[in-house]
Symmetry: C3
Subunit: 302 residues, 3 copies
């Protein structure tokens, strides 16, 4: 899990994913020779800060967003949100501007946010939760499990994947924006019929720790039932523990597939977490393993 | 109106339109030999649960959405909405899960919805309003006139249409999502300049029963004035009774044409109904006939 | 500034931009022979009410929206908004319906708007703020500086531009809708990598009159940081006065570039105004000049 620890330490809020993308690209270049199939790699300014890996002859793509929620400095000592971070006064934030490294605490509330850094911070500076990774027998707890675990799952999948796209997208936490051009590129080069969203969901009264990876029947948006039924059938065959999610809120990269110019079925599949969008996101290790196993099975059998 | 009765009995909330699509496709296959022009039919997994009919050389398309609002079961005895159904406690819902047929009543309110079915229902099960069709000299009243009447109007149009697309779309009640790929397919195969939205609108202080089909100058979105003016001119020439609608809220498949990658003018034209999104939607038969007549005229003269 | 005065007198709320587009097209046809490079002109029904000018070999496009906020008559003496106009009871509105010229005042509040015109106005009639242009040594004040100044800036740029697209878009004030088809046309004909949004922003506690053109690091949406950093570097080199904006709300044509099917970097650059969306919008002449100078510099050096 060394790669997961490194991923968790990377700062990269929505809009500022270039370092994370570069890290992933270098990792892929280094590891691909050990993978069952060496993918074709699409990376660079033409793809902004996204990374696309094409394995064999794809009919399905896996999407994992690489951006995180966070904060941006405004004028004076004001902060504004990037995505929807949990605002807990006293939480430590870290970042850097041209004057040097920054470590400060959140003050105020969701409507009026401030930092307590002794000097002014240059407007537009990105700040992330200070990272503290905690792993025990049952759980991993850290900032940004959403979606470093989804990225980790996608990288694990690469080791054995024979046919399929693995896509690292940007901007998901702040309304999206990379999915449309990624989908166009995919459909014009090696088109897909299905998409799996490798992302982290919520622990709720119906989705609990240790009960397996969540397969989402819906969130704010509703994927096509015919496809979801097929995914559930395969999930049953797989023997991998899973639970069904039915939510009326929340969204993912699936939203942008739904509204894209292409008829692509999609399904969100991911481990559930507690303390969403806080520095203390918490996921069961059993559920993470189920997520990894389920993706391996589905990408072979879909 | 046998076909209308059959349409009204079909269950198919947004995301779960496959049965409705199949029914329509079979109907078209059976009837097309009696139509003035036999259309080219596009149907199947490539088009998800949509159906496209191409008559002659199109410059205009008619869009009718085939999905309906409804409910989905969540955990325990909770319900969540699909689209924006009117929530009236005590309303009967029907559906089916793998344990058998379901008939139950809505309890609670818009924020906390429940059903009273004696056994648990499998999470993610789709439920629709129980249907009760009432027709008298003046009105038709039933669940899901929105948009079974729009579909019926489109099918009536097929009988005499010489040039044009007739499109049965999905997902309209829940944010849309099929229009973008339908539009791309249309524009890449037999492109259009204009679109008419065959859907049902609201009775308001300015749009009344028995005063003709409503031509919408705007809802939440604003079609291009130049095109609307032309539609109104033709409507005047047609002699068919119509009324003008000006609303600040509401949307339709027109929204997705507005935001599509193509410069296509659009106009919503449909009969008004009372008791919107309830089991008691009510439309004047005179207005329905005006809707049918107006589409015939416009598709010949636009 | 004769052209600016003429632009400010043109009525053309979102959806009803045909007269403004025609005026611009005629202006371009008349003036292009005096420009450094004569552009290729794309105009006509195929482009709805937009106008595209292609100079040389573009890698960057400048977008200026030509629509304005305003009002539309509903039933009886009701008004509804187009875009988000400031509602100040007593404000004079002007327009025209088939019965003749209209001049009336706003009554009521944002939830229930009325006009006081003695006769009924035909439903769906467009009304604009009555124009009163005031210019002194320091400021220009008028209705619709947003975005007549952005259009004026784009036209000034045309005089010396060698390579680039200059695009006049529609619908921006009311949710957008022309950008997707404009972007598709651009990318299929002479594709770009960057876009600058020539529009007017807000005076706030961090963006003030007389301190230069505002370069927006973000509004509700977040452009890619890597590109923004490059724009800021160039802005520093330019010697043109500028200030950095960081907002959590507001949007522009940049939003639709972000969500388009293409990987195009974008940045909003415009003078700030006070009394936004009122008849009294106010911009510093120094900031307007900085906007014009900055576009000249960036379009040469990006």
């Amino acid at each position: 899990m060394k790669i997961l620890y490194e991923l968790l330490e990377l700062q990269g809020i929505s809009g500022d994913e270039s370092r994370t993308a570069k890290y992933l690209c270098e990792y892929v270049e280094k590891r691909k020779k050990n993978w069952k199939v060496a993918p074709e790699i699409f990376f660079g300014e033409e793809f902004h800060d996204c990374l696309l890996l094409k394995f064999g002859h794809p009919t399905t793509a896996v999407f994992a967003h690489i951006d995180t929620i966070g904060f941006m400095t405004r004028y004076n000592n004001q902060l504004i949100s990037v995505g929807g971070p949990e605002v807990i006064p006293g939480t430590w934030l870290v970042g850097e501007d041209s004057l040097g490294a920054i470590r400060c605490r959140i003050q105020g509330n969701e409507d009026e946010l401030f930092h307590d850094f002794p000097r002014g911070i240059i407007p537009g500076t990105c700040l992330s939760f200070e990272q503290e990774i905690r792993v025990d027998e049952e759980y991993i707890q850290a900032a940004y499990l959403d979606n470093r675990l989804g990225v980790y799952n996608a990288l694990k999948l690469c080791e054995t994947l024979e046919n399929g796209w693995v896509i690292f997208s940007t901007y998901e936490e702040h309304g999206g924006g990379s999915m449309p051009f990624l989908l166009r590129f995919i459909q014009e080069n090696a088109p897909i019929k299905h998409a799996l969203i490798s992302d982290i969901t919520w622990v709720t009264e119906g989705v609990r720790h240790h009960e397996g990876v969540a397969i989402s029947i819906r969130d704010k948006f509703i994927p096509r039932r015919k496809f979801i039924n097929r995914v559930i059938e395969l999930a049953k065959e797989s023997g991998v523990p899973f639970q069904l999610e039915v939510e009326s809120a929340g969204g993912s990269d699936g939203r942008e597939i739904q509204f894209s110019d292409y008829a692509i079925d999609w399904c969100f599949i991911g481990a559930p977490e507690d303390h969403v969008h806080s520095p203390d996101e918490k996921v069961s290790l059993v559920d993470l393993q189920a997520m990894i196993d389920m993706y391996q099975y589905l990408m072979k059998n879909l």
